[in-house]
Amino acid sequence: MSEVATHHHDDHHGAHATGIMRWLTTTNHKDIGTLYLLFSLVMFFIGGTMAMIIRLELFQPGLQFVDPQFYNSMVTMHALIMIFGAVMPAWTGFANWMIPMMIGAPDMALPRLNNWSFWILPFAFTMLLSTLFMPGGAPAGGWTMYPPLVLQTGDAFPFLIFAVHFMGASSIAGAINVVATVFNMRAPGMTLMKLPLFVWTWIITGFLLIASIPVLAGAVTMLLTDKFFGTAFFSAAGGGDPVMFQHIFWFFGHPEVYILILPAFGIVSAIIPTFARKPLFGYSSMVYATGAIAFLSFIVWAHHMFTVGMPLAGELFFMYTTVLIAVPTGVKVFNWVATMWQSSMTFETPMLFALGFVILFTIGGFSGLMLGVTPVDFQYHDTYFVVAHFHYVLVTGAVFALMAGAYFWMPKWTGHMYNETLAKWHFWLSVISVNVLFFPQHFLGLAGMPRRIPDYAVQFADFNMVSSIGGLGYGISQILFVIIVVKCIRGGEKATDEVWEGAQGLEWTLSSPPPYHSFTEAPDPESITGGHR
C-alpha cells in the first residue's frame, strides 16, 4: 500500500478510511474486486448448501428430510443464488481486479458507480434469502419464474421481484463500468485487437448484459403488475398469454447463459498460452467467434421451450440457429487444442482447471448440440439430461474457469504463492467428484427422470445415489478452496512480479501485490505485445 501515499489523484478512493468504512466507501477497483469475489464465494457456499439439501433428499426414493414445497424452494433459490449471486458477481469481481491492470489504466472509469453497484448486491440477496422465513415460504416456482405458477408464491413474491430488479441494476451498472473503462481508459498503444481475450469477452458480455437484463426487468415488472395491479399480460383469463412470459424471459435467458460463460472463455484463453509457453492460436478468430456466439444468443431463445407448441416453422428456425452455435464454439475449442499443440506445457493448478474446463465444457457442449435437435428435445426437455447439460457448462465450465482464474491471479493479488499441493488436491477431488455428481444425471434423464422433482420412481435410485455421493464429495472439496485462499492471503512463499514462467501481459509487469492504483503512469507502448501473446 506504499503507493497510496504518493498517489495524487482526486478520486474518492477509500484508502484513507479504515476498518469497515474503508470497504463501505471504497472506490478502488481492487478493493471492489475483492468485495465482489468474497461475496461471490459466500453465495457459492449458500447456494451450495442448498444443492447439498437437494442431493441429500434425492439420495434415495421416498421423502426423508424436506417437504416437496421446501424442496422446490431449494431448487429455485439454488439457481437464483448461483447465477446472480455466485457466478455473475465473480465475473464482475475478476473484471474489476484485472481489466484496469490488463489495459494499463489506473482504475475503473466510474469508481463511485462501482462502489454502488457492489453494495446493492448484499441488499438484494438479504432480501431474497429473507423469503426463506416468510409465510408461504421462499419462491418455489423455479428460477425461470413461469406464470401462472409463480403467481401462487406467497408473501415472498414482491421480495423475489425486487431482488431480481436489484441484482439486475447491479449487473447493468457493472457492465456500463466495464464497457466505459475499456473504451476510454486504455493505455496508449493498447488497440482493440491487442486487448487480452478476457477483456474482449467481457466487453461482449457487458453488451449482452445491457441488452438482456432490462428485458428481464420488464418481464418481472409485468409479473408484479399482473399479481397486484390488475394487468393480465400473462393470464389467459384476462386475454394474456402465459407462454409470452417464456418468450420474453428466454429472450433475456439465453444471452444470460453466455454472460455466465463468455468471460470463462477469456480466462481460459489467458491461462492455456501461459502454461503452454506458446502464443494463443487464432486470436482474431477467437474474438470473432465470441461476437458470433453473442449475436446468435439473441435468436435462439425458443429452444428452451420447444414443447410449448410452436408452429413447425418456428421449431425449425430455432433448431437451425441453435445447432449453428456449435460452429463458433467449436472454433474456440479447436483453437485451444491448437495452442497446446507443439507447446511446452506444465501443469500447475490454473492449467489443470483450464484443461478440465476445455474437456468438460466440451462435453456440456455435446449434450447442448443434442438438446438443440428439436424432435429429440421432445424427450430430453425438462429431464435430468438438461440438468446434466447445464451443470457441465456452468459448474465444470464457468465455475472451473473461475477456479482457474483465481489460482492464476491469486499470487498477483496477494503477493503470495498459494499452496500448490493443496490446490492440486482441490483440483483432483473436484474433477472426480463433479463427474460422479453430474455424469450419471445424463443417464437419469435419458431413462426418463424429470427435473425438479423431490422424489422419484425406484428405477432411478442407483444413479441418484451415485450422483448424491459425488455431490457431497464436490461440496466438501470446495472447503479446501477456502482454506487455500485464507492461507494464501495470510502468507506464503513470496510471489515474483511475473509469477508464471510463461506469463505475458501488462498485469504481470506490476508488482505482486500491485500498487493500490494500477497504472498511475501509462505503461510503455512498446511493452504492449498484443492479445495473442
Partner: protein, 292 residues
C-alpha cells in the same frame, strides 16, 4: 504418482458402493412404441455417435499433446499462432456435420407436427395435481391421480417403503386406455398452471397450458402399459402426478369404452340426489338446445 493412485482408488470405491446395492442401471433413451419415438431414438443415437466421434478426435489430439508436448519431457514450444487454412477447415467441417444432423431432424419434426387424419381424439387436461382425460365423441371422461400405495409411501416418515410399492410414483388409479395401431390425437390443456404430459414410450412431451390447446399425436404399435409423469414444474406435488397409458387391441378398447359408458350411466343413477338432478337438468338442457 501417489496422488494419481489415490484418485483411482477413490473413484473405484465410488463406483463400487452403489453397484453393490442395486442392479438397475438404465442408461439410454427408450426405443419407444410409436413410429416417432423410434425415429427419434435413431436420431438420438446418430447425434450421440457423431459427438462421440468428435470427442475422440478433439480429446485425442488434446491428450496426445498433454503427454508429448510437456516441458518435463523436454518439449520446446513452437511459436506459430495462426493458420487461415486450418481455421477455415474447422469452421466448414462442423458446418457440414450440422447439415447432416439437421436433415433427418427436419424430417422427423415434420412427421411429428402432422396431426391430420387422426382416428380419435383425447383431451388431456392438467390440474394441480392430477390429470383429466376426455375421450372426444365418447361419453367417457375421468380423472387420473396417483395410486394410493404410492401416495402413502411418498409421505415423509411413511411406514411403507417405496421399494415395496409396485411402480412407485408411476402408478395411477385410472389408466388411460387406448387402442393400438390407431392414430390418436392428443389435445393438451390445463386448468390452473402449466403442466407437461409426458410418456417416454410415446416419444414426446407437450406442455399443457391453461387457456390454450396443444395438439400432438401417437400411434402405438405394441400393446402394453406405458408410464410417465408430469414434466413441467407445477407446484408442490409436481413429482406426484403420474401418467399411465394402457394400449390394447382395438376390440378390447371398444369393449372398455362400452363398459365405461355403462358405468357412467350407473354412477349417475346411484349417486346422490343432487348430482343426479344436476346431470339430468344438464342433459335436458342439452336436448332442448340441440333441438331434439
Amino acid at each position: 504418482m501417489n496422488l494419481l493412485s489415490k484418485n483411482i482408488f477413490i473413484s473405484l470405491i465410488l463406483a463400487l458402493i452403489p453397484a453393490a446395492c442395486f442392479a438397475d442401471w438404465e442408461l439410454n433413451l427408450p426405443r419407444g412404441v410409436t413410429p416417432f419415438s423410434q425415429d427419434i431414438y435413431d436420431l438420438h443415437m446418430y447425434v450421440l455417435w457423431i459427438v462421440c466421434a468428435i470427442g475422440v478426435v478433439v480429446f485425442g489430439a488434446m491428450f496426445y499433446s498433454i503427454f508429448v508436448h510437456r516441458k518435463s519431457r523436454g518439449a520446446k514450444a513452437a511459436n506459430w499462432h495462426h493458420s487461415t487454412k486450418v481455421e477455415v477447415l474447422w469452421t466448414v467441417i462442423p458446418f457440414a456435420i450440422l447439415i447432416a444432423v439437421a436433415v433427418p431432424a427436419t424430417k422427423s419434426l415434420i412427421m411429428m407436427e402432422d396431426v391430420s387424419n387422426a382416428d380419435m381424439t383425447i383431451k388431456v387436461t392438467g390440474y394441480q395435481w392430477k390429470w383429466h382425460y376426455d375421450y372426444i365423441g365418447e361419453d367417457v371422461s375421468f380423472y387420473s391421480t396417483i395410486h394410493k400405495d404410492s401416495n402413502i409411501a411418498r409421505q415423509r416418515g411413511a411406514e411403507l417403503d417405496p421399494f415395496d410399492v409396485d411402480h412407485y410414483l408411476r402408478d395411477v388409479d385410472n389408466y388411460l386406455v387406448v387402442p393400438t395401431n390407431k392414430k390418436i390425437r392428443f389435445l393438451t390443456t390445463a386448468g390452473d398452471v402449466i403442466h407437461a404430459w409426458w410418456v417416454p414410450a410415446l416419444g414426446w412431451k407437450r406442455d399443457a397450458i391453461p387457456g390454450f390447446i396443444n395438439e400432438s399425436w401417437a400411434l402405438i404399435q405394441e400393446p402394453g402399459v406405458y408410464r410417465g409423469q408430469c414434466a413441467e414444474l407445477c407446484g408442490k406435488d409436481h413429482g406426484f402426478m403420474p401418467i399411465v397409458v394402457e394400449a390394447v387391441p382395438e376390440a378390447d378398447y371398444l369393449a372398455w369404452i362400452a363398459k365405461k359408458t355403462e358405468e357412467k350411466a350407473l354412477v349417475i343413477n346411484d349417486s346422490k340426489a343432487l348430482d343426479q338432478m344436476n346431470s339430468i337438468v344438464l342433459t335436458e338442457a342439452k336436448k332442448i338446445n340441440s333441438g331434439e
